[in-house]
Symmetry: C2
Subunit: 412 residues, 2 copies
């Protein structure tokens, strides 16, 4: 268990923020986190900046964090730019934790930001596709289709030109999970309905509309079995967290009742093309390391934010994290076990599906939600008695190409 | 002083390697570092990958390190992609040091790689320009020109369309330094002549041709007072270092005589537009922190590799690092104080000017040279009695925009 604390969190609303610059979003999230901590910007001794696509979207390559933070007067500190696909934000968070554990400083900022909307919509899609090593894409795609063979695909529900290659991958995972464990499209829809219902109570969420399971099933298809409300949208947004050592917490006289301890925070990379070997999923390994370092197990967890880039992702991850047996994620979701008020509430924020998924911000936005929950400040979406929380953020082409999993465990 | 060691270093030759892929370069450098350490690839527990331009050059955004390392069978470990402009490699190195200091693992790989040559030459230039925040470029440029006003610029020696905005910036710095301290073009040429002479003995150097000072002065002008041999070239290349904790060093029975201790490794960010305030240069602050953490001072240093993106950069940095008083860098260089055999040899590898400057690899290539020197394995370019070594690597638009300085101190 580390002696590192999150003392402030902040984020922008997520959504289509075409009038707001990346800099302005970084400033808004960082100022909110500083205010939340009761600290001035001069107190930040190091910054870790997560962003995946600004080079592609805006042509700003390199020293992205320096450019963004200078604008609000933060300079003369170490700033590191981290790019780990959809796990860029959580990678920045883990680096901040390790920076403090290494005693390279006492107070650090982890901030992630992404602008994904553009006038030219095709630009956005290709940034995702460019994360894929082109040389093996066709090969991987064929493997994926094989995994899910034998699942009946209703005519007209598999887009010939998918929304994004990622959704196509998740759909293939879903069909493989259905074939192996009997997971149903209705169970997957239950995850989406639950997350959209949660987000109604989150004022920072991109969408705040609830759907019944039947409405999710009847929505426009992406690629079978996924429909639009089961998939995370394109989003702009930023999120920030201020971390400090126990020594700084005492020295600065910060409110220890609002400080949340980082029990552990790990990054893991791996390849998971062999999806049939579910117990060897990258996240299983990352979670094991995180639980060991934190000295807790899945049964101790009161609330979690997981990487539901699609509703299927949530089912896979709640199994990988040990909340449910392999194959039990779907039935558990349909029973309401992961709803607020259920056995282990998952994605009380609305998750990537509804709160939104501005890639570089997502991992830190998860921390934002869990810190809010652990402090008991989540209002109508509060999970009663939240004491141990898990954030799981993944990047890369999950289960296919090289991927990144970050698991952070927080506690009071 | 940390209990972290560099136990293996490796690099590709630097140069125009159009037939070699980025993956192949990463493999070659990493395998060389593993062989040097006497370790297998399975022993690597985490990797930090520095790269600045692959997104721009090849369209490979995100999870770049994962894609490159998977190819040689390295996966299921944390991999973090770091992008800090020309300091990407040293940033990756510092993160690896802090990862080990945080006890997040015992053995880590820092690897940096860059492919800068392309069929379309304009593509390369724009990657640099894209690091500059466009909104203030004109403003900055006007400031720079003012700094050097009053220095006579021979007609025809200032390119109307500079080789790169970076060279234009360095030329403006040079004119400001000349105006303030009386630094001469001949002194700047002496730095270039010295570095090209050093590289004759470095088989991995991009160029291995010596120049007299007069030949440097007579070479094609870039922007006054810089000529071609005073400027770092476009380069492809990769460099890797294997780091471990003292505990791992003993547990693995590695050769302690060849292990080099990391006395300190710091990253600092800052803005240095006010070049007249030389004692407040970003690198001055970074160096102070690095010396304090290492428990040594500039007088203790036996050899250094510094960021000579141009010969003028070396003069600025040897002053910032405290090897010479401000304004004394030029005369000291002309006297031979920084040549092998001089008071404090600088850039025995040939430096960025001659060895080459594949952006993401540069910081780790500096460590490669210094480890080789500290072990006494540098052959005809060996600095006698090398015991304390400093690597200084900078990124961003030095002295203009937000910039990054990394200073690492190594010792036996």
């Amino acid at each position: 268990m580390s002696d590192i604390y999150v003392v402030g969190v902040g984020m922008t609303p997520f959504g289509r923020l075409t009038e707001v610059s990346l800099k302005a979003m970084v400033r808004q999230a960082t100022e909110a986190a500083l205010n939340d901590a009761g600290l001035q910007k001069d107190s930040i001794e190091a910054a870790f900046f997560g962003n995946a696509s600004q080079g592609h979207m805006e042509g700003q390559q390199m020293i992205r964090g320096q450019i963004a933070l200078r604008d609000m007067g933060i300079s003369r500190i170490p700033v590191v730019n981290v790019e780990n696909a959809c796990a860029s934000g959580s990678s920045a968070f883990t680096l901040a934790v390790n920076h403090l554990k290494a005693r390279a400083g006492d107070i650090a900022l982890a901030v992630g930001a992404e602008k994904m909307f553009s006038a030219d919509r095709s630009r956005m899609f290709s940034v995702f596709d460019s994360a894929l090593d082109i040389s093996c894409a066709a090969d991987v795609h064929a493997d994926l289709l094989r995994m899910g063979e034998g699942v009946e695909v209703p005519p007209g529900t598999t887009s010939p030109k998918p929304y994004s290659v990622f959704m196509d991958v998740y759909a293939a995972f879903a069909r493989a999970h259905m074939k192996r464990f009997g997971t149903t499209q209705r169970q997957i829809a239950a995850v989406a309905a639950k997350n959209h219902a949660h987000s109604v109570h989150n004022p920072l969420s991109q969408y705040r509309t609830s759907y019944t399971i039947d409405e999710v099933l009847a929505a426009a298809p992406i690629t079978y079995p996924l429909t639009v409300p089961m998939c995370s949208p394109v989003s702009d947004g930023a999120a920030a967290a201020i971390l400090c050592t126990g020594a700084a917490l005492r020295r600065l006289g910060l409110d220890t009742h609002r400080a949340v301890r980082v029990l552990s925070s790990v990054i893991q990379t791996g390849s998971d093309r062999n999806y049939t070997d579910v117990r060897n999923h990258l996240t299983v390994h990352a979670a094991r390391r995180a639980y060991e370092a934190a000295g807790v197990g899945p049964r101790d967890v009161s609330v979690a934010e997981v990487h539901d880039a699609t509703a299927m992702g949530e089912i896979i991850q709640i199994e990988n994290l040990g909340f449910f047996e392999f194959g039990e994620g779907g039935p558990a979701s349909e029973r309401g076990d992961t709803s607020i008020g259920g056995r282990i509430p998952v994605n009380p924020s609305g998750g990537l599906e509804s709160k939104g998924h501005p890639v570089g911000a997502t991992g830190i936005a998860q921390v934002h939600e869990l810190v809010t929950q652990l402090r008991g400040e989540a209002g109508p979406r509060q999970v009663d008695g939240a004491s141990i929380a898990v954030a799981e953020n993944g990047g890369g082409l999950y289960g296919v190409e090289e991927a990144v999993a970050c698991v952070t465990i927080l506690g009071r």
